[in-house]
Amino acid sequence: MRAVLPAFFLLLTALLPANAHAAGSRHLTPAALAVRVGRIFGDSRARIIHLERTTAEASNQRMYVIGLRGSFRQGARHARYLYFSALAGRWHVWGVVAYDARHHVVWNDPILPARSRF
């Protein structure tokens, strides 16, 4: 039993960050945002290749600039990389820029609508 408890605790710790928003906390982790934003564009298993933790201008809220690598699509268009800005405290994602493998811009969404959260 003694050996099982620490292992269970470790498992909980590992799972919490990505699902903190579901446990009552308003904090959205980069991993959770990567899944949600990636899912909107067809790849919920995209890999985080860039992460900047900072503070938003004007509102002074905690935010991230996140870069993903995966297989994304918007209509008939395909992209390899996705960069976006997101608040940590609530769902607000803006400045989504998708690039192809040669880092040419494929599409650009200034802001993701709230209804696109799932």
């Binding site: 201008e57 004007a58 200034p110």
Partner: protein
């Protein structure tokens, strides 16, 4: 002996010796940008910081302009927004509003520095959008009014290029450094970091070489 006199005069003016000396030939935007690149994250201990008391953005840009060669305008010779200084008197910092406040600094720069020119004004630049900054040069100042109420809330300094060219083939200097929040070579609109980008007005001021 000359050196001793120079040191005494400098101390009497209340300007800390650790500050970079003014360039006699006036403003060098490259020197100002270099200063910003050096201290964007590691704050220069020779100056006070306002990062935890209202924000350090204008104080940082002022330090860079000073390092680039813009001379201080001390009181009582200069007053109101014509005064631009940060000096240590009797071990306490004394400063003018334009040195530390973005709106007041905009008045100082536009109305009291000869030759300053507005080279770009934009509104609502979207993140990811490439916008002309009016051929800004290193050392130029960028002012931000988050809600377009006529009062500037933030400022940054042009420091580098993302490698793109202007229509005439010249280098497009479009990246800025700033304090509060600390930014290094960020795209000049800051829209990527700005939740209020839709209402933000931005003005770029060019400071000609040689301005003092």
């Amino acid at each position: 002996m000359r050196k001793v006199i120079a040191v005494v005069v400098f101390c009497a003016a209340g300007i800390p010796l650790s500050h970079p000396a003014l360039a006699s030939s006036g403003y060098s935007g490259t020197a100002a940008a270099s200063y910003a690149d050096t201290y964007w994250s590691n704050y220069n201990p020779a100056w006070p910081s306002f990062a935890n008391s209202g924000g350090d953005c204008t104080n940082f840009v002022s330090q860079a302009l000073y390092a680039g060669g813009i001379a201080m305008r001390t009181s009582p010779t200069y007053s109101g927004n014509a005064a631009w200084y940060m000096i240590k008197v009797h071990n306490r910092w004394s400063y003018s509003n334009p040195w530390v406040n973005a709106q007041d600094d905009s008045v100082f720069l536009e109305q009291h520095l000869t030759g300053i020119k507005v080279v770009a004004t934009i509104y609502g630049a979207a993140p990811g959008q490439t916008v002309s900054d009016g051929d800004a040069q290193p050392g130029d100042v960028v002012l931000y009014d988050w809600n377009n109420d006529g009062t500037f809330d933030h400022e940054a300094i042009v420091t580098a290029s993302d490698g793109t060219k202007n229509a005439d083939g010249t280098t497009n200097y479009d990246l800025v450094d700033a304090h509060t929040n600390n930014r290094y070579h960020a795209y000049w609109t800051l829209a990527q970091y700005n939740t209020s980008w839709q209402t933000t007005r931005i003005v770029v001021l060019h400071i000609p070489a040689g301005t003092s």
